[in-house]
């Protein structure tokens, strides 16, 4: 019988990701891998490789309908979970490395957005959204102009080293996201709201920002990670 001594040390390093996904590790080893995942992108991508490849084995498991009360228990558990939303995952994303998230920048951005909409006579209740990542820190401020047909988006942060495009989405209840266009990481931008959506930017809508291939999502739906989101609220 062959033994492990003949396994290349480089391969052993990679194996831990496969063993983690396969589920053969004990509790302590699992926690150790999870601690490393936050700091080691190579390990994280190896874990993602195995999750995607081995994941199809789950097709062998017959679906079983859970009891009806499960959903109401989940629903009841959510507000508490939402309050505890901040996760540390975002801190490790390369995207945020270039960001200096400062309260001062947000304040300046908010003032800039408010000053802008202030230039137009108010004919309706101004709507604003503060878009935050899961860390809870605001990353963009968006304001609907008083005429209701333009959206000013001001990044609260100035730099990103991520080469991907940044796309803004309108999220309406029970509908697929609608693209509002690409925004710039370093400067305020004015987007024209498509006429069919102009009346839909109300307080029950939300905005989300995702990272997309250069030029924007090829599918018309978000394809990259959502880096910030927030509800529109009336001032």
């Amino acid at each position: 019988m062959s033994d492990d001594n003949t396994i290349d040390p480089a391969d052993r390093g990679k194996l831990i990701a496969a063993e983690y996904v396969l589920g053969v590790l004990g509790a302590e080893e699992r926690r150790e891998v999870e601690r490393r995942l936050a700091q080691e992108p190579a390990l994280a991508s190896e874990v993602a490789f195995w999750e995607e490849r081995l994941g199809v084995l789950a097709d062998a498991v017959a679906p079983v309908t859970p009891p009806q009360h499960t959903w109401s228990q989940i629903e009841a558990a959510i507000p508490a979970a939402a309050a505890a939303r901040p996760t540390s995952l975002w801190q490790s994303l390369a995207f945020w490395r270039g960001f200096g998230i400062a309260a001062a920048a947000l304040a300046a951005a908010s003032i800039a957005a408010l000053a802008y909409i202030g230039l137009v006579p108010a004919t309706r209740t101004p709507l604003m959204a503060t878009l935050a990542g899961t860390s809870g820190q605001p990353n963009f401020v968006a304001a609907v102009t008083a005429t209701g047909d333009n959206l000013i988006v001001v990044p609260a942060t100035l730099l990103t080293s991520d080469p991907r495009a940044i796309e803004l989405w309108l999220i309406l209840p029970n509908q697929q996201p609608r693209s509002l266009g690409l925004i710039q990481p370093g400067q305020p931008i004015r987007l024209t709201i498509p006429p069919d959506l102009a009346g839909r930017l109300t307080a029950d809508a939300a905005l989300a920002v995702s990272l997309e291939p250069p030029g924007g999502s090829p599918t018309g739906q978000p394809t990259g990670p959502v880096i910030a989101s927030g509800k529109l609220t009336s001032l």
Binding site: L22, G55, I74
Partner: protein, 185 residues
């Protein structure tokens, strides 16, 4: 509805969940709960524990939806990974006990009907994985499937297949390395 549409609808729903949309979580739940409950039940072999874990899974989905990257993972695979991780953690926290089924049970369900595979892309991945598993020694492939489906540790697998622990580790590690090489071809 075609496979890509199903996938992109689920991905879109997850994006809405990331923005705090509870109705979207309900859609995600309806589309995936039977599959994920099956996965949890298979690992835990206990309905009430599986129900607990299932709740925890969707609360986790709610919290982590913003980290889901539709460009890198299929939505169902992402959710299966969360469900398995939660179920395996629950299993590990339980005192070691003899609730696991014999290894034959894993083999018995290891060849799903093609109809069970809903998405074209996943179907292709499934074929590739099946082909690569077939290149392995039968008992190595069998140990890998059992490990995945039951979330069993090396120790449990060694006991179930009646081989020394070192042998089981070697089977699975060698199997995984060969599998990786094959999947990358």
């Amino acid at each position: 509805m075609d496979a890509d549409a199903t996938r992109s609808q689920l991905a879109a729903a997850l994006v809405r969940v990331a923005s705090g949309d509870r109705a979207a979580l309900r859609i995600v739940y309806q589309d995936t709960c039977a599959k994920l409950f099956g996965v949890c039940l298979r690992i835990l072999k206990d309905r009430s524990e599986a129900e607990d874990v299932l709740q925890d899974v969707y609360v986790t989905v709610w919290r982590k939806a913003a980290t889901f990257d539709p460009g890198r993972a299929s939505p169902i695979t992402w959710m299966v990974a969360i469900a398995r991780n939660r179920a395996i953690d629950r299993l590990r926290s339980r005192a070691a006990g003899g609730r696991l089924e014999p290894i034959e049970a894993a083999d018995a369900v290891s060849d799903p009907a093609p109809a069970a595979v809903e998405r074209v892309e996943l179907a292709q991945q499934h074929q590739r994985l099946t082909r690569c598993l077939e290149e392995l020694e039968a008992r190595h492939a069998s140990a890998i499937r059992a490990a995945f489906l039951d979330g069993a540790t090396y120790e449990e697998l060694a006991a179930r297949m009646n081989v020394p622990l070192g042998t089981m580790k070697s089977w699975i590690r060698r199997g995984l390395l060969k599998l990786r090489a094959c999947l990358e071809r």
